[in-house]
Amino acid sequence: MRRPTRPVFLARAPYRRRRLRDAARLLPLLGFLLLLLPILWQDGPDLPRVSDVALYFFGVWAVLILLAAVFASGLKGGEGEEEEED
């Protein structure tokens, strides 16, 4: 069943909100890639120290949370029904 047609072009504010949602959707991808880093390590003498690795992970984690907090304002309310897989 066809859904009612939605506007093709948006005003500035909803447009920004939608891009924020896009960014939020991409965030887990970025996070997943960054968090997969240890997979690439081979056994060897110049492996990074465990403490550095731990700091790296907590850093990535903090950045993800920070970005999510920035994006969160765009997730709330607004055009509500509009998105899904638009």
Binding site: M1, P28, F32, L35, P38, D43, V50, W61, K76
Partner: protein, 894 residues
């Protein structure tokens, strides 16, 4: 620290939780929840994810495997920071269709199939049992730590006795607050708030211990970093497979764990909370894991070799003589364990009562089911189920002896519930997912999980005979539980993860692709997948033969008398009826079913209503009718739209015509005064001169002059009248045409010669192409020439250029000849172009050359009679007229 004090503190803590829960329930009853429904409480209640396994086990995990414990938090972090669209859909569906549990969601999505509900319930219970045992075990271990630290003379508690009383206490608390009411939507505000409080205690306790370890025992962050690097054990090496697999597994589990589903979907009303939780929940997880590694390394350093790393959180403060801190840590661990058990058992009890006990009871007691108050039965079933779930956990703890490391059981439980993932995601985003596919996928996943992960976790020889481990099922080597299809080199958990989820998803997809869903299934599928589209309602009832009275009595048994009667009364009033009994319209049945499913789950609610409505539930024919109904509506609106554009067009044409009419009427008025003037001027001079002539005293030459004037004026009058007559003949179509073959060139020559009489003083530069003019037309030559003369004279009259020029261009185009007359004057203003062909139209008085404004009107009529047209040609820099005439005019119908 005295053991009795610990027990007392524990009891006090539990009493405080009771008080919080009571207080909130009391406020909820009067509907004043306020900030208790805030995103903060929502986020904190999500921390149910962090169980005792996290609280104690993560330190042990870190001591054994280094950074790998982080993966358990990375999965949920990724899900929450970016997958809110999935979670939001879940929450929206949960709210819209009053979903009571994850089993209810799956069963409802796939055509309200109770079979699916039962399967998911069984998977959840089996996976949760060891997990609950794990919580009991952690509490027992913690008690044990304190007991061994107490001075002699204290009664060392018996482990299984502790576990027993903890289990009893938890069951009591859960039954008290978890089954107070059969809410329309299974919400337990008291418990959620208590859990939020416990979440704070957990975090504070862990952070406090962490700070003590970092700054109290070790010498600050730098020292910790040095110790971490020094402690770098070979076992800490990251294993790529496990790393990626565990992130995926924990991401899947956070969506599918029954207790997470309970707090995330069932207990919330507000999708907006998800936005806040998208960063606040990962932040909470970050806080929970920040000090895990420091505690682990300092514990390894400070405590005697062989101490249980799972208990470092307690043993470290105790070893340092920090009794109060240890107590706080103990309460934190206690909180983690209790909150998990409470919520998990509520979630499982809801599933068990809605999908197993009630359907079974309804089937067995069909006769009694007509009378009894179902609410009491549902509540009792739920209470029993809570007790049963907790006893199962206790039983597992007793049997397993509480020996296995905490983390291992936790991951196996994760993998168990993750089997729901393909059906869940498929159900939410793929309309083609069917019930058969879901059943196949879930069964495949469940069997593989049990065979590859759950049963082997008891150890070789415990449940699965050792022979199966070595030689495979039925002696088939490729069926060894930890090396399916000869994939032996993998980590057992990742092996089970890969095979169970892959084959689960494959079976789900193949099953869905090959089967045809039933009508209810298809409706539900569309409603769930397009929950944001809003267009598709849930399953519809056909206008049934249900007795309103029977419906009411059933509703009273499920919702309680007061609620049910209020519901029916509102519905009846909505239909404009007095009294308690509304018509059983599809809409009403739908609303009623939604209310029922909030209490007993979608499948049972559906079954109960269809029992009363008879077999009038939706059929494929109904479904097609619904579809064609909406198709008709769409077609109708399309037709309306066409008609609307048509109307707009007509209105535009009418407006144009009206404007033209008004202008014409103005012109006609102007003409009337003009024509009277035109007629009057010659008449006046004729009368005046004839009067002079009648006096008879004039010399002969004067008489001749006056006579000529009278003659001229009379000729003018005649010409005017001729024109008018001509026009009326042409307009009536009664004109006689004289068709003959004539040269166009000849006609133009004649016309030019004749037109030279108009303003003979002006000399025009002519531009013609004689070759083009060599065309023979079959037409009325006199009439056509008349048109040419008129156009050329007009140019001579009105062209206001200093060096006037006239271009005549002839072109042949598909059986027609066009002759353009283009001068280099000012042209005709745009607004006048549509008027010049009207009768009596005249542009300006300035260039008036004696015409009455009939020339072009006559031309137009002539051309119409000749089967052609004369039009104004805009955009030629001067005035330009195009005469179109057919090459061969056959006799037109007169």
């Amino acid at each position: 620290m005295p053991f009795n004090l610990l027990v007392a503190a524990c009891l006090l803590y539990v009493i405080a939780l009771f008080a919080v829960a009571f207080f909130v329930e009391a406020r909820a009853r009067v509907g004043r929840l306020g900030w208790l429904r805030s995103p903060l409480v929502y986020t904190l209640s999500l921390s149910i994810y962090c169980t005792a396994w996290t609280f104690y086990g993560a330190v042990g995990y870190a001591a054994r495997s280094g950074l790998e414990f982080l993966t358990i938090y990375f999965g949920p972090t990724l899900v929450f920071v970016g997958w809110w669209w999935l979670l939001r859909k879940l929450v929206r569906i949960g709210r819209q269709y009053r979903v009571t549990s994850i089993a209810d969601l799956i069963s409802s999505r796939f055509g309200k199939s109770n079979t699916l509900g039962v399967i998911v319930t069984i998977i959840a219970v089996v996976a949760a049992t060891p997990y609950i045992a794990l919580q009991l075990q952690s509490v027992v271990l913690a008690f044990g730590v304190f007991a061994s630290a107490t001075p002699e003379g204290q009664l060392a508690p018996d482990a299984s006795q502790t576990a027993f009383w903890v289990a009893v206490g938890l069951a009591l608390f859960t039954v008290l607050f978890g089954t107070r009411n059969l809410d329309v939507k299974e919400q337990h505000h008291g418990i959620v708030t208590a859990i939020a409080v416990e979440a704070v205690v957990k975090l504070v306790a862990l952070v406090a211990v962490g700070c003590f370890v970092v700054w109290g025992i070790a010498g600050g962050p730098a020292d910790i970093i040095a110790r971490i690097d020094a402690a770098n054990l070979p076992a800490w090496q990251v294993q790529p497979g496990r790393w990626a697999g565990l992130i995926f597994l924990s991401a899947a589990a956070v969506i599918t764990l029954p207790r997470m589903f309970q707090v995330m979907v069932v207990e919330t009303n507000d999708e907006g909370h998800l936005a806040r939780a998208s960063w606040a929940f990962p932040l909470y997880l970050l806080g929970m894991s920040l000090f895990i590694l420091p505690i682990a390394v300092v514990g390894l350093d400070h405590l005697p070799a062989g101490s249980n790393p799972d208990m470092f959180v307690l043993t470290l403060p105790l070893a340092e003589g920090q009794g109060a801190l240890a107590m706080l840590a103990f309460l934190g661990g206690f909180s983690s364990a209790t909150s998990m058990v409470i919520v998990e058992s509520i979630a499982l009890a809801t599933m068990i009562s809605n999908h197993i006990v009630i359907p079974l009871w309804l089937r067995l007691n069909r006769a009694e089911a007509e009378r009894e108050d179902l609410r009491a039965i549902v509540l009792n079933a739920r209470r029993l189920a809570i007790a049963a779930v907790i006893s199962l956990g206790y039983g597992y703890y007793k049997v397993s002896g509480g020996s296995a490391a905490l983390a291992a059981i936790g991951l196996i439980a994760f993998l168990g519930v993750a089997q729901v993932l393909p059906a869940l995601i498929g159900g939410l985003f793929w309309r083609g997912a069917t019930r058969t596919g879901a059943i196949l996928g879930l069964l495949t996943g469940f069997v593989l999980w049990a065979y590859c992960s759950f049963l082997p976790s008891f150890g070789p020889g415990a449940v699965l005979p050792e022979a199966i481990f070595h030689d495979g099922l039925f002696g088939l080597a490729w069926l060894r539980p930890q090396a399916l299809f000869g994939t032996g080199g993998m980590d057992p958990l990742i092996h089970a993860l890969f095979w169970s989820l892959t084959l689960n998803a494959t079976a789900f997809c193949i099953g869905s692709l090959l089967t045809f869903p039933g009508p209810v299934e298809r409706l539900q599928g569309a409603a769930f997948v397009h929950v944001f589209g809003g267009g598709i309602g849930p399953q519809r009832w056909a206008m049934g033969q249900a007795e309103p009275e029977a419906l009411l009595s059933m509703a009273q048994r499920i919702l309680g008398e007061e609620t049910a009667q209020a519901l029916f009364e509102t519905a009846a009033r909505g239909q404009g009826k007095e009294g308690l009994l509304p018509e059983p319209t599809p809409a009403f049945l739908e609303a009623l079913e939604a209310r029922f499913s909030g209490a007993v789950g979608a499948a049972t609610a559906h079954a109960m209503i269809s029992q009363l409505v008879g077999r009038a539930a939706i059929s494929v024919e109904n479904l097609m009718a619904v579809a064609s109904e909406s198709a008709q509506i769409m077609e109708y609106s399309a037709r309306l739209q066409t008609r609307e554009t048509e109307l707009t067009r007509t209105a535009g044409a009418l407006r144009e015509a009206n404007e033209k009419l008004q202008q014409l009427s103005l012109q006609k008025d102007a003409f009337l005064s003009q024509i009277s003037h035109e007629l009057r001027t010659p008449m006046t001079s004729i009368r005046a001169f004839s009067e002079i002539l009648t006096e008879g005293t004039l010399p002969a030459d004067q008489v001749a002059r006056y006579g000529r004037i009278i003659h001229d004026e009379a000729k003018r009058l005649t010409r005017l009248l001729d024109d008018l007559l001509d026009l009326s003949v042409l307009e009536n179509g009664t004109v006689q045409l004289n068709l003959e073959l004539t040269s166009l060139h000849q006609m133009l020559e004649t016309a030019l010669t004749a037109a030279r009489q108009t303003r003979p003083e002006r000399s025009f530069a002519m531009s013609r192409d004689l070759d083009d003019e060599a065309v023979f037309l079959k037409t009325d030559a006199d009439r056509l020439t008349q048109v040419f003369i008129n156009l050329i004279s007009n140019a001579r009259k009105y062209c206001d250029a200093d060096a006037p020029e006239l271009r005549i261009a002839v072109r042949q185009r598909g059986g027609k000849v066009t002759v353009d007359f283009i001068d280099n004057g000012k042209g005709i203003p745009k607004e006048a172009q549509s008027l010049i062909f009207e009768k009596f139209a005249r542009l300006s008085d300035a260039n008036r050359a004696g015409g009455a404004g009939l020339g072009l009107a006559i031309c137009r009529e002539v051309m119409a009679n000749l089967g052609g047209a004369v039009t104004y040609l805009p955009g030629q820099r001067g005035a330009a007229f195009r005469v179109t005439v057919p090459l061969r005019l056959d006799q037109v119908a007169a």
